[in-house]
Symmetry: C2
Subunit: 189 residues, 2 copies
DNA sequence: GCTCACATGTAATCCGTTACATGATTCT
DNA sequence: AGAATCATGTAACGGATTACATGTGAGC
């Protein structure tokens, strides 16, 4: 069977322990979401596919009268996960960043509007930085409990990433100060 | 008509001057590609749609017997572009990063394999950094010619972005040094 | 004569989101 | 009683990539 990145997110999550589809989503939302997001629309069909392929095994585990299926990774699933983790070749990286895109085309804006754009962008990353920082205590607790420090390190990476963008916005603003204003009047639009 | 981000990439590119679909792709490949990639499969159908909507205007401009259609942005297209550039609300940001994803799940790997993963990831970003640095002289020349400094600033931002990831890999390696090795032997898998 | 860059386009496919539909349990 | 959370799933849609198909012109 052909596995996509989403399949590996699920396998990876299940390797950390058996989970329901709902739990997988919840865990992903506070960890992988910031560098690989997944949605219910992928998770449930994919769980079915993975089970049919024998990479995971589902068991009914209702909480009261509430239906619930918990999935565990199989030996075959672990092999598939490891195969991916060690697979040679290029690592997929993709960025879609509307802020930088708008900035690139902002010669259609006035200087003032361009600076406002940078401010909006800065605020956005600052908020994301805060969001991640708020998760940190949970990750720290999880590390102490399970000894798994990778979640914490990944979160730190996510925070540093948002911090960089905040700094990049500041840097761009400084560069605009160097270039614009003093040349005042030569305004487009 | 509904416009997607790709439409605005095209409009933005055409605002900098009339271009063929081929030229739009070429320009995008050395500028927006790193934070918003586009492909021929989107460009040509989208050019048709945008022309039908009156946001751009195509003109036949063959180079010899070689067919070629050059598109210019219309007043209506400029309005649509500006509307987007100034549109309030959240800026879309999306990151898909296989390296960090694998790292997050690398408890299924040995310490050695995990460090190799970091090295691969570092090498990848270092290469991308170089790729971008190689474009810099072109961007500098373009600035001198056209006076458009936004391309240069955006490129600088792209370089800083790749540099950050190189640094993040180094940081992760240092953190592993703090955490692992000294606790040696407590190895998973 | 061959290869590379210029040039345009379509079809199949994949990947993913959003919206919808449904229902139980827990907490206030 | 009502809201929030737990829980599962599907259908429609949108966005983008890949592969394919075709052809010219320039330089070696």
């Amino acid at each position: 069977m052909e596995l996509g990145y989403t399949s590996y997110v699920i396998l990876g999550m299940l390797r950390k322990g058996p989970k329901s589809g709902y739990e997988i989503k919840a865990k992903a939302d506070i960890s992988t979401r910031f560098f690989w997001a997944i949605s219910y629309g992928q998770i449930y069909p994919e769980l079915k596919r993975l089970e049919e392929a024998g990479l995971i095994k589902g068991a009914s585990d209702p909480a009261g009268g509430r239906q619930r299926r918990v999935f565990s990774i199989t030996a075959s699933g672990e092999r598939a996960l490891r195969e991916w983790l060690m697979r040679p070749g290029d690592l997929h990286t993709e960025l879609r960043h509307e802020g930088v895109l708008r900035f690139f085309f902002s010669d259609a804006l006035s200087e003032k509007e361009r600076r406002e754009l940078l401010q909006t962008m800065r605020a956005r990353h600052d908020r994301l930085r805060e969001e991640l920082t708020a998760i940190a205590p949970e990750a720290e607790a999880a590390r102490k409990e399970t000894g798994d420090y990778l979640g914490l390190l990944t979160l730190e990476t996510g925070i540093a990433y948002q911090e960089l963008f905040v700094e990049l916005c500041d840097r761009l603003e400084r560069r605009l100060n160097e270039i614009e204003s003093d040349s005042g009047g030569a305004e487009d639009v």
